[in-house]
């Protein structure tokens, strides 16, 4: 972390996006995490993605649980409303917020302790319901704020900084999200921004439950030899199945691709995801195959990253509930109160 305050004046030459904001307008407070923390790279990727997508910062609601990862929403999108909720319970709060106003963009930020240990139940159920959100797990396999205990995503046999060996089977959030019905599932690495930024952009555009598991090494407690969540280990075992280019609906696709190396997927909102295949046999629209592929590679100690699954026919919770188009928080007594005549009818039926 740095103790230098950020200057509030922006240089006039900073590039503005279509909605008139510079990249700096998407920043937040100065991070209080350790220097070199993977989480700060993820915050930077979120800033980049939102700026590039021309999202007005205040149209994003940031929600998090408790832990190092859950502190980060204070460090990006400083003009957005944020909510640092209860440990492991961010998904329910996000669900409620989304029910109240379907027009905002909901970004959930959580960690492996928050989502895979204490909050596993809510993680699973929010995927089932198709809440329209981008759910980012900053996964380092360790509890940082309480100084280095294993979390539920720590691999069996991996060593803690103090030399203890983890004997519990690891929990794979990507597989769980696939099983529970998430309609956009990705995995990234905080050390690979070129992969992560388009993943986040595509997830933000996705209508439905989008989850990205981001491996984000903890320099203080989980970056040693024997750890399977260290920078070195993840770099060595990272198996990216594809590279992703994301094109919002209004943009003309300008990149050039060679024959047969690209899969194009069009999302609900008209946006286009172009995938350059790195593994020829990987099909991110086949959920069942994706699960076994991830498991097969995990068994070999490999970490599969990229866009792992995308359901282009996803539906979100509001569609399923048949809610009115106007955000529920804008309705007043005229729309909500059935009035005296209806009440008198009810009274009459109760006699």
């Amino acid at each position: 972390m740095t103790y230098l305050a950020k200057p509030t004046l922006h240089h006039p030459s900073l590039t503005k996006n279509r909605v008139g904001f510079t990249r700096r307008d998407y920043e937040g407070k100065i991070s209080t995490l350790c220097a070199g923390c993977g989480h700060d790279s993820i915050s930077a990727a979120i800033i980049q993605a939102c700026w590039e997508l021309d999202i007005e910062p205040h149209r994003v609601a940031k929600l998090s649980g408790i832990g190092c990862s859950s502190k980060t929403p204070d460090y990006f999108l400083g003009n957005s409303h944020g909510f640092n909720t209860v440990h492991g319970r961010m998904p329910s709060v996000l669900t409620g917020a989304y029910l109240a106003n379907r027009e905002l963009i909901y970004l959930g930020v959580s960690g492996d302790g928050d989502s895979a240990s204490i909050g596993l139940g809510q993680f699973a159920h929010v995927m089932r319901r198709g809440v329209n959100m981008t759910y980012i797990v900053e996964n380092n396999g360790v509890y940082g704020l309480t100084k280095g205990q294993f979390s539920a995503t720590a691999d069996k046999g991996s060593k803690s900084k103090r030399g203890q060996v983890n004997n519990d089977a690891p929990l794979d959030l990507v597989t769980l999200a696939l099983v529970m019905g998430a309609t956009f599932v990705g995995r990234g690495f905080s050390g690979d921004k070129t992969q992560l930024v388009p993943l986040i952009k595509a997830a933000l555009a996705h209508q439905g439950a989008a989850v990205i598991d981001v491996l984000s090494p903890c320099l203080a407690f989980n970056n040693h030899t024997g750890s399977t969540k260290s920078y070195d280990y993840v770099r060595e075992h990272n198996e990216a199945v594809n590279r992703l280019d994301f094109w919002p609906q209004r943009e003309e696709i300008t990149a050039e691709y060679g024959e047969g190396e690209v899969t194009e997927v069009r999302q609900h909102d008209g946006s286009v995801v172009r995938l350059r295949k790195l593994h020829a046999d990987y099909d991110p629209t086949d959920r069942i195959r994706a699960m076994s592929y991830i498991q097969e590679h995990a068994a070999r100690g490999e970490v599969v990253t990229g866009l792992l699954y995308l359901d282009v026919d996803s539906a979100d919770l509001h569609e399923q509930l048949g809610t009115v188009d106007a955000p529920l928080n804008t309705l007043g007594a005229a729309e909500l109160c059935p009035g005296l005549a209806a009440l008198e009818k009810i009274n009459a039926s109760l006699r």
Binding site: H81, G82, P91, L99, A100, Q122, L328, N347, R351
Partner: protein
């Protein structure tokens, strides 16, 4: 032998087997009497079971309109051999036992001091019907038929009720009328008249007959709730189910068929309160309904909502605790758990409805209070009110009423340069302004957190910032006093040095007991508390009396504790009168307990001019 004689003032208790369809037949019996203009108060005493275990249905017929549980049974209708002995024991001397005589019952299992009416209900039913489901359901109607004959209930009222229930289902209507007449005919030919009787009156007026949970749900519809998140738990589930029913009728956009509400059945109470908090944070009126174990699970979130100042409404339909406790029995045992829910220093606003009318009114009001005070509001109902149909005032609504959305800073105000501090006390009432997420591109955004913060919602661990905030929350709680419903005084006919405090579902039994005590020459001023925080009127009332009985349906005297803690009341002046066996408190219990204590205290000479 003595014979209980009564017109429009007696208790009939039905002993049945759960899942046999008896509850609807017994309800029909109660409604028919109601339609004759005579108030009734039914209570379903049921097990935590779907089929097979014993269940009871008690109908109090009460021309005086005493709707509390009276205590005692004048007539027992036993349709469950499993509970025969205990049912027979419960009948008041001179009372009546109506039983199914299809199988012989040994003489020794009756009593000499009660009147026995045997009718071969099963035999009549099996002779008339062959289908097993038909037999099971119509058997209930046959005994109801006999009872209408015995108690002189107008069969035309029952037929009218059949007509309403089976509109367009002629076959069902005919079958039910036929079964009713089977029972009536048998009773007419074989059974002697008894001395309990229903006579037509005009004592019901425009009152409605409804359960508190439906009423609370309707209150949430009228009060503008748009988000409901819940997890099934007895005895509160029917709140959410009624909200689903009412919103489907009353909240669908006529042009598009779209819903002006969102209801989610969550995976547990942690999630249901989380959703309510999320929706409240984002400016939608939201509520959950639960019971004791749910409250236990929700406490961390309740603390967050208190400290982060987020509107939320919790309808707590109380049951017996602790732990799983008595899910199908009633208590007022969550008063302290709710008043102080969460770790840390917290205080929550509680509302205590006395009946379905107040369940409606207070649920709607709770939604206003939650947004005005930006805090969780508890509607403290219980199983007795929530799951039993109760005669009460018809629901009322002022057409000009607007929702109080509280202090919300708008985009215009922000543009005008208004200083926005999310936790800043600008008006001196302890209530800060809030912004909804997405209000303004550059102003009014803030980071909500449960941990320490300053008045501008910035992260701060400074002691002074924390103290400022906690002091402001105390001021806000003071402000709440002026917003919550005032207590209701029932003054004795003569000056009284004794007083009583009561709340919630104790109300009807209490009013009846006050009448009974007055008849014995014991005059008591009674105050019904309707909310926490306690207004000064409550402390003044207690100070004006030498002894105050506090009637509660829990063991610990939880409201008494709260009065001592929060209203600065001297513990010596408070006498706990506690009923906590899981059944609703009765007028007989209150009368006896108070009369006994008064006679003990009255050994000392009274001051002149005072009557006790």
């Amino acid at each position: 032998m003595q014979k209980i004689e009564a017109v429009n003032d007696f208790v009939v208790k039905f002993a049945n087997i759960n899942g046999s369809g008896s509850a609807s037949a017994n309800e029909l019996f109660a409604r028919a009497i109601l339609r004759m203009g005579v108030p009734v108060s039914p209570r379903n005493i049921f097990p935590s079971n779907i089929q097979g275990l014993p269940t009871w249905f008690e109908v109090r017929v009460t021309e005086h309109g005493y709707l509390g549980r009276r205590g005692g049974v004048d007539m027992m209708v036993t349709m469950n051999p499993q509970t025969w002995d205990q049912d027979v024991r419960e009948i008041d001397p001179g009372g009546y036992l109506f039983y199914d005589s299809s199988k012989p019952v040994p003489r020794a299992r009756f009593r000499d001091d009660i009147h026995v009416i045997g009718m071969p209900v099963t035999e009549i039913c099996n002779n008339a019907y062959t289908d097993s489901r038909e037999r099971q359901l119509l058997k209930n109607i046959i005994y109801i038929g006999a009872l209408t004959q015995l108690l002189e209930i107008d069969p035309a009222e029952i037929e009218k009720l059949f007509g309403e229930q089976y509109k367009g289902k002629e076959k069902l209507f005919d079958a039910n009328v036929q079964a009713l007449n089977l029972g009536r005919d048998y009773a007419q030919q074989h059974l002697k008249r008894i001395a309990l009787k229903v006579e037509r009156r005009d004592a019901v007026g425009d009152k409605v007959f409804v359960d508190g949970n439906s009423a609370a749900a309707l209150g949430c519809v009228y009060g503008g709730a748009t988000v409901c998140a819940w997890y099934p738990i007895t005895p509160s589930s029917s709140v959410a189910e009624a909200f689903i029913r009412y919103t489907q009728k009353l909240r669908v956009d006529p042009a598009t068929g779209q819903h002006r509400y969102a209801i989610v059945q969550a995976e547990d109470e942690l999630a249901s309160i989380g959703m309510v908090v999320g929706a409240g944070w984002n400016g939608a009126r939201s509520f959950t309904a639960t019971s004791g174990p749910g409250i236990s699970l929700m406490t961390e979130f309740i603390g967050l909502a208190y400290f982060a100042e987020i509107p939320a409404v919790l309808i707590n339909v109380q049951r017996g605790g602790p732990s799983t406790g008595m899910p199908t029995r009633t208590q007022q045992a969550d008063v302290l758990a709710c008043a102080y829910a969460s770790h840390g220093d917290t205080r929550h606003v509680l509302l205590f409805p006395e009946d379905p009318y107040e369940c409606f009114e207070m649920s709607a009001q709770a939604l206003d209070l939650a947004e005005r005070l930006q805090t969780p509001i508890f509607v403290m109902s219980d199983l007795d009110i929530g799951m039993n149909q109760r005669l009460c005032r018809p629901f009322a609504w002022d057409e000009s009423r607007e929702y109080d959305r509280g202090k919300v800073m708008t985009r215009d105000a922000l543009d005008a340069g208004t200083d926005f501090g999310r936790y800043l006390d600008v008006d001196g009432d302890g209530i800060p302004y809030r912004t909804y997420p997405g209000t303004h591109p550059t102003k009014g955004g803030y980071f909500t957190r449960g941990s320490t913060k300053n008045a501008y919602a910035g992260y701060s661990e400074a002691g002074a910032d924390y103290v400022y905030n906690m002091q402001r929350l105390l001021r806000k709680f003071e402000t709440a006093k002026s917003l919550v419903p005032l207590p209701v005084l029932t003054a004795a006919k003569f000056p009284a040095r004794f007083a009583a405090i009561f709340y919630g579902s104790t109300s009807p039994a209490m009013h009846e007991a006050l009448d009974a005590l007055a008849e014995q020459g014991i005059y008591i001023n009674a105050l019904r508390i309707r909310a926490f925080p306690f207004q000064n009127e409550i402390a003044d009332f207690i100070a004006a009396h030498s002894k105050v009985f506090v009637l509660e349906q829990n063991l610990d005297g939880q409201l008494t504790t709260l009065l001592i803690n929060e209203a600065g009341v001297s513990p010596a002046s408070l006498i706990r009168v506690l009923h906590y066996d899981g059944t609703p408190i009765t007028a007989r219990f209150i009368t006896q307990e108070i009369a006994e204590r008064v006679s003990r205290i009255n050994v000392r000479p009274l001051r002149e001019g005072m009557v006790a």
